[in-house]
């Protein structure tokens, strides 16, 4: 800076008056006097927060908590709506059979976002309300003021205060017995411009940081005949063979291996011929397998399974008038109706044969063996037997008590 530019001290306007104290008690007593004198543009500066000085200075409670509350509610609303929109509107995830919007599982993230937003508000709001960062201040020119972050206490009254009067105010402060009482001049020395090299560096860095994005943008917009770049080779092309693929490692060139002869999967031994095929020797079994309990429960189970698998075609009564039949015979000519299960020849069939009909299908009726377990198929047969009986029973089949009830 050349001499001509340097402002003369005498021309520099007064910023305010500064008083220094060496203990908090002296400062607080001075602060009360200044407060009572009705000043507005003044402040105290201390190395640590002095508790209760707000009252001595007449500082009103800050609005910061309201700001934080506002941000907390915003964070809560944003997190709730965002999760709702992403997971149950825009990209629906089915998770453990829950509804798309099952909010209790969203609470943890709502909670975390509420805290995150409020924390940003607390520190950001504090800096904003405190007018920080503030790189330069007239007080910085005072060598002694540096002790403010160490062990000294200061009180500053600004000249811009309407009550400020150089002589009176100085008198007021002098009466508080400061260690030092001094003038503070406006800062005409520190330049408030950002240094040029800093600006250049920031501009260059900013430009350089855009280069990768430029490449990405180009790659996304331009067409190319080359395939994509495989950054992680072994993840894009896994060395494992797929089931239907050829495989040079084996003699038969197949990746899928057949299990060794005689392998039986867990629970698939099926060595009870009667139970699993309905036959004894080469003949249809006329009885039920021994392992099947001929009980009320089996009957109930049979009724339920019959209702699920057979009624659509054979009807509730087993008379062949099921809903599928009713509809199909309207739509299609040459539809083979499901048999009326009360025909004598079916009634006379051995239990094993009916079991066989369910298991393997008969003529036009498909096989249900693969869908219904052997035990359940037998239960259906049991129920079917009861059903057949019910449609041709006579009064003589009833017990005395039952007959009495009917009459």
């Amino acid at each position: 800076m050349s001499d001509s530019e340097k402002p003369l001290a005498t021309e520099t306007p007064l910023y305010g008056l500064i008083a220094e104290y060496d203990n908090p008690t002296a400062l607080v007593h001075a602060a009360r006097k200044v407060r009572d004198a009705g000043f507005r543009r003044w402040d105290t500066y201390t190395p640590f927060p002095i508790h209760g000085i707000e009252k001595d200075m007449g500082i009103r409670m800050t609005r910061l908590p309201w700001l934080v509350l506002g941000f907390a509610l915003t964070g809560m609303a944003v997190a709730t709506y965002f999760q709702y929109w992403t997971n149950s509107v825009d990209y629906r995830w089915i998770i453990s059979g829950k509804p798309f919007w099952s909010w209790p599982a969203n609470v943890p993230i709502i909670f975390e976002m509420t805290i995150l937003f409020s924390a940003f508000a607390a520190i950001g709001g504090m800096l904003f309300l405190n007018n920080l960062p503030l790189p330069a201040h007239p007080l910085d020119l005072k060598e002694r003021f540096r002790r403010v972050t160490d062990d000294k206490f200061f009180l500053v009254i600004e000249a811009s205060d309407p009550k400020f009067d150089e002589r009176d105010t100085r008198g007021l402060l002098a009466a508080t017995n400061p260690v030092v009482l001094d003038d503070v001049l406006e800062d005409r020395v520190t330049s408030d411009r950002i240094p040029a090299p800093l600006i250049y560096t920031l501009v260059i860095l900013g430009a350089v940081s855009l280069i990768p994005f430029a490449f990405i943008a180009k790659a996304r917009a331009a067409k190319t005949t080359e395939g994509r770049v495989h950054v992680v080779w072994d993840m894009d092309f896994t060395p494992a063979y797929k089931a239907q693929e050829g495989n040079p490692l084996f003699g038969d060139q197949r990746s899928m291996r057949t299990p060794p002869e005689g392998t039986v999967a867990l629970g698939q031994l099926h060595d009870d011929e009667h139970l699993y095929t309905g036959k004894v020797g080469d003949e249809w079994a006329s009885s039920f397998p021994e392992s099947l309990a001929l009980s009320e429960a089996t009957m109930e189970r049979g009724k339920q399974q019959f209702g699920i698998y057979c009624t659509p075609c054979h009807g509730q009564l087993g008379d062949g008038n099921g809903i599928v039949h009713q509809r199909a015979s309207k739509l299609k000519q040459g539809w083979v109706p499901p048999s009326d299960l009360h025909q004598t020849y079916i009634k006379e069939q051995p239990a094993g044969q009916i079991f066989g009909a369910i298991t393997n299908g008969v003529r036009n009726m498909p096989a249900y063996g693969p869908q219904i377990s052997a035990e359940d198929r037998w239960a259906i047969v049991l129920y079917l037997r009861a059903l057949q009986k019910s449609q041709s029973a006579s009064v003589n089949d009833l017990t005395d008590a039952e007959r009495a009830q009917l009459q």
């Binding site: 508790h51 998770i95 943890p108 975390e112 805290i115 520190i123 405190n130 503030l134 972050t149």
Partner: protein, 456 residues
């Protein structure tokens, strides 16, 4: 140890300053201002850097080879990385606890230790974050966990505990850094105002943001601090609860228990305090902070360790009881297997370290002896690591189907990453000790008798 170190230790000289405030300033600032830190710092730093190298190398192997380089086997896909993750996150709890909860409870003794407990928290969370980051298998794609609009039109699944983790740990790391940084602003200003070199004045001036100690600013600052503390308190409790949900919401015997959230939080406080004493004892010794971090502080921390250790012990007992009381044979087996199965040695190591060892703190003589405090602190850290190992390995190796049982044998890379993570932790911590205000000067000053205002 004392006498030998003091020959080269620049921090054992008398304190400058004619009043208590200036002495505090000097005691803390001289650590940063000394031209050279003590020899012990250099030795520790070299060691930490070496371990950090091991960390980089072993993670390099994992990234290059795939996570199979760790000892993962079929039923144990979580292994060491998740054990380490939970361990470090746990360590990362004490800092915020000391700063926030003890602040709300008006435990003023916290001012001496809160700053470096907070630093420890942040460095521990950094260590923790590395593990799941690499364990996802493609460490270059962690951004898939964040809700970023993408060409596939997909969004993360927000109802998964693993996704909750991302938000909980992410929020925790952010809030801890903010809390820590905000607490340091006035102390940075002190460093700035004391510095003689331009570079230092510029750098500390930049981070101090023009703090000049105005009371109007202090007023809002203190409000913000109080608010952050009240926000951090439920946050810190939620973080380890969420981490425990990773286990508790699964159906595995030994994991599927409602006791996990409180039990994890207590364990985290316990382990975190143990880590604070392990760091505080050498730090006060080498950096001449014995007048600020006094034996009284160490004793209080020992008491917290004793109390939380008992909570943890109670949780271990309760787990056993609930397993028996549940009547579920799988649950009962899981716990019998913990205590007497193939990993029984790790279970009993855990019981010894976490339940028995802290009992020495019942005796005043022992809890005021720095050596005892240091050793118990180390033992507790070992125990807390084993706690997570027990939970993860015993449950995963023995689930419902015997056909699915297996054994977990860590690989050399496993041990290297575990040891290496301490390298990262100590490197960061030692740099912090040297360059940042290790003790919250402004807060300590506010609680000494000289700070009281006398009304006559």
């Amino acid at each position: 140890m004392n006498t030998r170190v003091s020959i080269t230790n620049p921090y054992n000289g008398p304190l400058e300053g004619d009043n208590a405030f200036a002495q505090i300033t000097h005691n803390v600032s001289r650590i940063m201002e000394a031209p050279r830190p003590p020899l012990a710092w250099y030795i520790a730093f070299a060691f930490a850097l070496g371990l950090l190298g091991v960390f980089g190398l072993s993670l390099g192997i994992v990234v290059w080879e795939g996570i199979g380089a760790w000892g993962h086997v079929h039923p144990v896909a979580w292994g060491f990385p998740i054990v380490n993750f939970v361990f470090w996150v746990g360590i990362g709890h004490a800092g915020t606890l000391i700063s926030a909860i003890l602040f709300l409870l008006r435990q003023n003794w916290r001012t001496a230790i809160n700053r470096f407990a907070e630093a420890m928290t942040i460095f521990a969370v950094v260590c923790a974050a590395v593990f799941p980051g690499v364990h996802i298998g493609r460490p270059w794609l962690p951004y898939w966990m964040f809700p970023i609009p993408n060409q596939m039109g997909m969004w993360p699944q927000f109802r998964s505990p693993l996704e909750w983790d991302v938000f909980a740990v992410g929020t925790y790391a952010t809030v801890s850094v903010l809390f820590w940084y905000m607490g340091m602003i006035p102390d940075f200003a002190t460093f700035r105002d004391r510095s003689t070199s331009t570079v230092r004045r510029f750098v500390y001036g930049l981070v101090a943001m023009g703090w000049r100690g105005s009371s109007r600013q202090w007023h809002r600052y203190e409000r913000a601090y109080l608010l952050l503390a009240s926000l951090a308190t439920p946050l810190v409790l939620s973080v380890h609860s969420v981490v425990s949900f990773d286990f508790a919401t699964s159906q595995l015997p030994g994991w599927h228990t409602t006791i996990f959230p409180p039990y994890f939080v207590a364990g985290a406080i316990f382990g975190g305090f143990a880590m604070v004493v392990v760091l505080a004892v050498p730090a006060r010794e080498f950096f001449g902070l014995k007048k600020i971090i006094t034996l009284k502080h160490l004793e209080l921390m020992a008491k917290v360790i004793l109390a939380t250790g008992m909570i943890v012990g109670y949780a271990y007992a309760m787990e056993m009881f609930v397993a028996w009381y549940s009547g579920s044979i799988y649950e009962q087996f899981a716990f019998l297997n913990r205590a007497f199965g193939n990993y029984a040695w790790s279970y009993w190591t855990m019981i010894f370290c976490n339940v028995l060892a802290p009992q020495v703190f019942w005796f005043k003589k022992l809890r005021t002896n720095v050596w005892v405090i240091l050793i118990v602190g180390i033992i507790v850290n070992v125990g807390m690591w084993f706690e997570r190992f027990v939970i993860i390995c015993t449950s995963l190796t023995r689930d419902f189907l015997p056909a699915n049982w297996g054994a977990f044998i860590p690989s050399a890379v496993d041990y290297a990453t575990l040891a290496g993570s301490f390298g990262l932790f100590f490197t960061l911590f030692l740099l912090f000790c040297r360059y940042l205000p290790m003790v919250a000067m402004a807060e300590v000053k506010a609680f000494i008798p000289e700070s009281h205002v006398h009304d006559h």
